[in-house]
Subunit: 92 residues, 2 copies
Amino acid sequence: MSRSPRVEIEYCTQCRWLLRAAWMAQELLTTFVDDLAEVALIPGTGGIFEVRLDDQLLFSRKEMGRFPEAKEVKQLIRDKIDPQRSLGHSDR
Amino acid sequence: MSRSPRVEIEYCTQCRWLLRAAWMAQELLTTFVDDLAEVALIPGTGGIFEVRLDDQLLFSRKEMGRFPEAKEVKQLIRDKIDPQRSLGHSDR
């Protein structure tokens, strides 16, 4: 049973992106320690690296042609779950 | 929307166990690269460190009085999802 707000990070196992995905998960859980119900790491294939919030796509490596920075993912999540909140240096 | 088999690792944020939880998640996703649909990291409180498989409790720090070893969590998961499988050095 999953909880909300839930972040999903789907990463390509063939590309060996687990470490990137796990790093991003830790960044998000550190910043949103009281605001996220869970972060799920989801093994995928075919060059996928996607970040979703409650099934809504926040970032897709395929669409953007690059990996997301932690800062921009944090801003995207903040904008959805707590728009008034300042992220400190991640807002600059 | 969560998927199955799903592993949940709920950890106490006050105790700063995120790093342990994230390490365990990576161990499991590395060993069961084609067999787990997701591993969810769930922030908790009050000294919790629990590992669950599809909502079934596999390991509780409170019950056992210690942290789980990666090896024993892998054995517990293997026994549920693929009992015939050898885990190599994690079975010795």
